[in-house]
């Protein structure tokens, strides 16, 4: 048995050096050289300032922006750092709501959101993605229906014709990969950037 200790230690160290240092550092080096944008997190800059990542959702509350899905992420309470409070789209603490199908808290929350949205736009059925939280709390996308649903509100706040806003949405709809994989979607940050470009606030 003692004879097996030497290979145990040597192989652990050797394979650690290869798979734990050599491999990730080489990958980091190659990525930085040939795909620097993705490697650093697909960051988006406007006027030289980082405004977010094209893959990470961010919170939009104002009437003049399209809103993303509700987010269940938490952050430290500014009053008492031992506690956590809701902090939507906290990109250093990804999480879902973890509420189950028979959870009263879930149904109450969704009901409240549905009523708010119905008041905002009674002409369309409420798309489910606008009232359910995503698994990560950082979902960058909404469904095309979810974006079209918000057109009247945004157009009014921006004093733009609804057709113009609807056209911006249509331009930002991404289809399934190869027509097959995934779901049609709209990237909220990209849409809002296009909106800002079309009509400065």
């Amino acid at each position: 048995m003692l004879r097996e200790i030497r290979p145990a230690i040597v192989l652990l160290l050797g394979l650690t050096a290869i798979t734990g240092l050599g491999y990730p550092l080489a990958m980091t080096g190659i990525a930085g050289a040939i795909m620097p944008s993705q490697a650093q997190g697909s960051l988006i800059e406007r006027d030289g300032k980082v405004v977010g990542s094209s893959l990470i959702g961010q919170e939009f509350k104002g009437e003049e922006y399209f809103h993303g899905r509700p987010s269940a992420t938490l952050g430290p309470d500014p009053q008492d750092s031992t506690k956590t409070v809701p902090q939507p789209y906290n990109a250093i603490n990804s999480m879902g709501s973890n509420l189950g199908p028979t959870s009263k808290a879930l149904i109450d929350r969704v009901k409240e959101d549905v009523e708010k949205l119905k008041a905002e736009n009674p002409s369309m059925p409420v798309p489910i993605d606008l009232v359910t939280t995503s698994g990560s709390g950082l979902d960058p996308n909404i469904s095309p229906e979810g974006a079209l649903f918000q057109v009247p509100r945004v157009a009014k706040a921006r004093k733009l014709p609804e057709d113009r806003v609807r056209q911006l949405v249509t331009e930002k709809i991404e289809g399934r990969f190869g027509g097959l994989l995934g779901e049609p979607r709209v990237n909220v940050l990209a849409l809002n950037l296009a909106l800002d470009a079309a009509s400065p606030k």
Binding site: G14, A31, M95, S97, T102, F177, G182, E183
Partner: protein, 567 residues
């Protein structure tokens, strides 16, 4: 359910099946010690490791020595991983300034990664430094996967050999698996993932100013290199808390599809390695057929349940299925499919929150794990788990016709059946036993996030996942408490090693037996009858063991949901 959804599922199965033969052939030559197209580059590294380690690659080991070597390797790995987590605050590559991981959490996490479970009682981006992620977690993603494959190969040799005392050399198997199989695939895979948008940087977390002027700190890191092996090695421990639901850990529908392929790729190919090594590839296909039938059934049930949504959401006029806890880019079908794959294999990565699945949709992942993760299963672990059930099925068939049971030329006798039963019975002992303890301890009950039967399911799921070395969770349960850290760690330990040691004893006793040629009385093990028999044994043994627990959790919850009861 939609047509395009089913096309995605069919495409998935097609690609996995197409990979079985080429990967199986390549892995067979790796474990037979043959030269491969990568040998010119890797052979010097391999030989160097043996030379420093004092490994004589020509010398094979008795099953006991093989097992001891494996256990020692795990002990050394456990200690080093524990040390790295405890010391991460003073070690380099820690731009986010993470402090030392707590003692009980380090203990739990070290056991978790050494046993290929990768249960996360921690949030990756808020707990682990880059060094811990690379030098600790990435390394054990490789090594625990390689160990699983090595053990499966040793068991296959037991079936394939005749009158031999040895079953291979652990050091050679684990080294060759890491260098020739896992590492090359991961290098290509990592580059693909980065191309899809996965970060790979040692830079600090990024501060962004959102369009509305708020500050958003975005966690990044060397993500892609870890995710590649996390999926390929069916480890499942995420770089981020939200795992493969996090947009950085699974940026696109395509990255999701390839990640799902990579969970099954090696496990499915192992059935082909088995067929080739025992001299009849059809034996491997028969086992894969058993897995396939169980898998497709599970996918259909979960997809159906998620697509029909929950009574509560439907009552509010919301359509399109149960989107709570799911990412929009994956939608219902890719989330349901991923959940079934990750629990059929012992991966445990999640791209949607299982806690928010419908009762029936979430029950299938639970059942997959309770059956012992033999539907493809963890790399290696799935095959040896399945072979244990095959031994039992052959034994039952032998009883029915009154003949000594045989499988691939080996007589299955009392010792083999005892070993198989021991390995299979120890799993429910852990997950049912600890669940029973947890639901009567007020402090453990306090960890549940949901009230009613769903809370019970959270606890049952946690211990099932830990025992099965899966690592997925009904994430609402607060697992980072002293009680859960220790009990879950014990489940992971028992679930891994109390299965491995009997499996190795089985390998040893099989290798020592003479191979006998098939006769007119031998049950053919490549046809539909055999496939049906194995499925029956799996469902009957599994069903009898855990059906009562399911009745208390998901089944009663489903009934409550359809009656619109809320908790």
């Amino acid at each position: 359910m939609t047509t395009i959804g089913w096309i995605q599922i069919a495409l998935y199965c097609g690609v996995v099946l197409a990979l079985v033969k080429p990967l199986g052939g390549y892995m067979t030559s790796v474990f037979n010690g043959e030269r491969t197209f990568l040998s010119p580059i890797l052979r010097p590294v391999e030989a160097g490791l043996y030379w420093i380690g004092g490994v004589d690659e020509k010398r094979e080991q008795h099953w006991l020595t093989y097992t001891v070597a494996m256990l020692l390797f795990h002990v050394v790995g456990f200690l080093s991983l524990y040390a790295i987590m405890r010391l991460q605050a003073v070690l380099p590559f820690n731009p986010a300034g993470q402090s030392a991981v707590a003692e009980d959490l380090s203990f739990n996490t070290a056991i978790s990664f050494v046993t290929n479970t990768n249960w996360q009682n921690y949030g990756g981006e808020s707990t682990m430094s880059y060094l811990t992620q690379m030098l600790g977690l990435t390394v054990h993603n490789f090594l625990s996967a390689a160990a699983g494959i090595a053990l499966a190969v040793a068991l296959i040799r037991g079936f394939a050999r005749s009158s031999m005392r040895t079953i291979g050399n652990f050091w050679v198997d684990i080294t060759r698996c890491t260098l020739y199989v896992l590492l090359p695939i991961c290098i290509v895979y990592t580059l693909f993932l980065i191309w899809q948008g996965m970060p790979q940087t040692l830079g600090a977390y990024v501060d962004a100013t959102t369009l509305e002027g708020a500050k958003q700190t975005i966690a990044v890191g060397p993500v892609a290199s870890q995710v590649a092996i996390k999926m390929l090695g069916t480890n499942g421990g995420g770089f981020f808390n939200a795992n493969a639901a996090h947009p950085f850990e699974n940026p696109t529908a395509l990255s999701n599809f390839i990640q799902m392929i990579s969970i099954f790729a090696l496990g499915a190919a192992m059935t082909n390695v088995f067929g080739r090594m025992v001299g009849n590839p059809r034996q491997g296909w028969a086992i894969l057929a058993v897995m396939g039938v169980l898998f497709i059934t599970g996918v259909a049930i979960t997809y159906g349940a998620e697509a029909s949504g929950t009574t509560g959401l439907n009552a509010l006029g919301l359509t399109g299925g149960n989107m709570e806890g799911k990412e929009l880019r994956f939608g219902i079908v890719a989330s349901s499919l991923f959940a079934v794959i990750t629990t059929a294999a012992s991966c445990g990565a999640v791209n949607a929150m299982h806690d928010s699945f419908t009762a029936i949709g979430g029950m299938i992942p639970l059942i997959n794990m309770q059956l012992g993760e033999i539907i493809v299963g963890g790399v290696g672990a799935g095959l040896y788990g399945m072979l244990l059930f095959v031994v039992l099925a052959i034994f039952v068939a032998g009883l029915m016709v009154g003949r000594t049971p045989e499988y691939v030329g080996k007589k299955i006798e009392a010792r083999e059946v005892k070993m198989a039963m021991l390995a299979i019975l120890v799993l429910p002992l852990m997950y049912l036993g600890w669940t029973a303890v947890a639901v009567v301890l007020p402090s453990a009950v306090a960890s549940m996030a949901n009230a009613g039967p769903h809370g019970f399911t959270e606890v049952l799921y946690a211990f099932t996942s830990a025992t099965g070395n899966n690592g997925s969770a009904f994430g609402g349960l607060t697992g980072n408490t002293f009680f859960y850290n220790l009990t879950l760690a014990s489940s992971m330990f028992v679930g891994r090693f109390f299965m491995i040691v009997p499996a190795m004893a089985l390998a040893g006793s099989l290798a020592a037996k003479k191979s006998i040629p098939a006769s007119a009385g031998t049950l053919p093990t490549t046809g539909g009858l055999f496939v049906g028999l194995v499925i029956g044994v799996i469902l009957i043994i599994g069903g009898l063991t855990f059906f009562p627990a399911l009745a208390l959790g998901p089944i009663v919850e489903h009934l409550a949901m359809t009656a619109s009861t809320l908790f």
